[in-house]
């Protein structure tokens, strides 16, 4: 199983624990990765302020073109913003010949072209559909013994097409969590937006969005929240103190990446495999309690 891994800008910095845990987990599951050589940023959610729509599409088409030229593997985008940007642009190029022509006219300025032969997928999709729950289960050496995890899917990891999961009531992440031995907590706000790319510039408004999500997860019994997006993770994890100050709440709930929980349950080291020391709210206590350490 070979793929291009487009990890994007965040996974080298604020989302470093995502990449650090994703790589060993996927390797253990028999996946092989190739980097998209000299990749560029996807433009995430906020580029429209400085660029028109065609420029943002061309930005993404450059990555697709490099991948297509190199090989025909699917691209995995673990960051939900990268995924939605790249996948959306890809679909539009594949289905709109007029757009494909315009995009290629711009790509040609840099000596590139894209025929539309690549597929873009989220890591949840690949884990669920290519690897499969049975294979994940078979790798579990340390089941999470009913650790109550709220699988926060976030807004962009399944939308807009819903190719591998429901855009309203997703279940893929919960199924993976269950395969690890965790108890996936049902909570209605699992797809409600955290503020994403405008969090920093609209913090006063977005702190309330995050509070509602945390409250919903905690009220439904979650001991830990798992995410599959660096924006979700950052917004939910780093601002809990500010939320507590603003709203008089007392949140102190660890936010981990799904792949970090996978690494732990696969028996990997808490630090060198699961990168739990990257998390600012320590998840070790809850995890160790579940493992019975």
């Amino acid at each position: 199983m070979k793929y291009f891994l487009y990890w994007g800008c965040s996974l080298e910095a604020s989302g470093a624990n995502y990449l650090a845990s994703l790589e060993p987990v996927c390797k253990a599951l028999g996946m092989e990765f190739e980097e998209i050589e000299d990749w560029n940023c996807c433009g995430a959610s906020i580029s429209y302020v400085g660029a028109n729509d065609l420029a943002i599409k061309v930005l993404n088409a450059r990555n697709l073109a490099i991948a297509e030229k190199k090989g025909r593997y699917d691209i995995i985008a673990p960051c939900s913003s990268c995924y939605i940007q790249m996948n959306k642009v890809n679909h539009e190029i594949q289905t709109d010949p007029d757009l494909a022509r315009k995009v290629n006219a711009a790509l040609a300025e840099g000596g590139m072209g894209y025929k539309g032969g690549i597929k873009v997928r989220h890591i949840q999709d690949v884990l669920f559909n290519d690897v499969g729950i049975e294979k994940i289960k078979a790798k579990v050496k340390r089941p999470l013994n009913g650790l109550k995890v709220a699988g926060y899917v976030g807004c962009q990891s399944v939308r807009p097409f819903g190719e591998y999961d429901s855009v309203e009531k997703p279940s893929v992440q919960d199924k993976i969590l269950s395969a690890l031995g965790a108890e996936a907590v049902e909570f209605p706000k699992k797809m409600r937006c955290c503020g994403s790319g405008i969090f920093l510039s609209e913090m006063d408004l977005c702190l309330g969005l995050v509070r509602n999500i945390l409250e919903d997860a905690v009220n439904h019994g979650a001991e830990i929240i798992s995410t599959v997006c660096p924006m979700c993770s950052m917004n939910l994890e780093l601002y809990q103190e500010r939320i507590n100050k603003k709203f008089g709440t007392d949140f102190d709930i660890p936010i981990v990446y799904l792949t970090q929980l996978m690494a732990v349950s696969f028996g990997m080291d808490m630090k060198s495999g699961a990168a739990l020391d990257y998390n600012t709210i320590p998840p070790e206590y809850a995890i160790r309690a579940a493992l019975g350490h």
């Binding site: 800008c9 729509d53 420029a55 061309v58 450059r62 711009a106 405008i198 920093l200 510039s201 408004l205």
Partner: protein, 196 residues
């Protein structure tokens, strides 16, 4: 008494012709599912449905100056739910882009942040997560910048101590000059740019 209201279609035409995805609003039937789905609609002066109605009614200043068009979090709830398949997210982004081009500043902070974001992509090809907030914090001058930086120290320190900050500055991608040529061409060819 004549109660007929004459709408001025010139602004709607302006939107259809110059705003990315602008013509899609023709499909809107004013049901309000977008407004009900939006995480920040309660913070908006006009939720998306009303923005579309105002465009049809010719209310140029109200629309292009509205904070709503820059409060989109890009969550796509509206887009997946719209029964008429209006890509509401894309229309809101298109309107924000157009408003800023025309000199309106619907939300100053997001405008500053987004401008620095795109400038960095154009300069490097990638986002440097340390450099971007720094430039954003100082967008309104030195004094504001120092204040903003001090106000953000708690978060910055957490990230630094937990290895969530790349210490080396982000360099340019190898193909940066070719990328810029492509982006320049796309900017000209896109809606509202010079023609092909």
């Amino acid at each position: 008494m004549d109660k007929k209201v004459n709408y001025d279609p010139s602004f709607a035409t302006e939107v259809y012709n110059n705003v990315d995805y602008g013509e899609e609003i023709k499909m809107c039937m004013q049901c309000g599912v977008c407004a009900a789905s939006c995480p920040l609609s309660l913070e908006m002066d006009y939720p998306p449905r009303q923005i579309f109605a105002l465009i049809r009614a010719g209310k140029r200043e109200e629309v292009l100056g509205s904070r709503s068009i820059m409060l989109c979090t890009s969550c796509y709830s509206c887009k997946v739910r719209c029964p008429r398949k209006v890509p509401v997210v894309d229309v809101m982004h298109g309107l924000a882009n157009y408003a800023l081009k025309k000199g309106f500043v619907p939300r100053k902070n997001t405008a500053n942040f987004g401008r620095e974001f795109w400038a960095q992509i154009y300069r490097l090809g990638r986002i440097d997560e340390k450099d971007l907030p720094r430039r954003y914090f100082f967008a309104d001058g030195l004094l504001e910048g120092v204040k903003n930086t001090i106000g953000f120290m708690d978060i910055g320190m957490k990230m630094l101590f937990h290895k969530r900050m790349k210490l080396l500055p982000e360099g340019k991608i190898k193909g940066i000059s070719a990328l810029r040529k492509m982006l320049d061409k796309a900017s000209q060819m896109g809606k509202g740019g010079a023609k092909e």
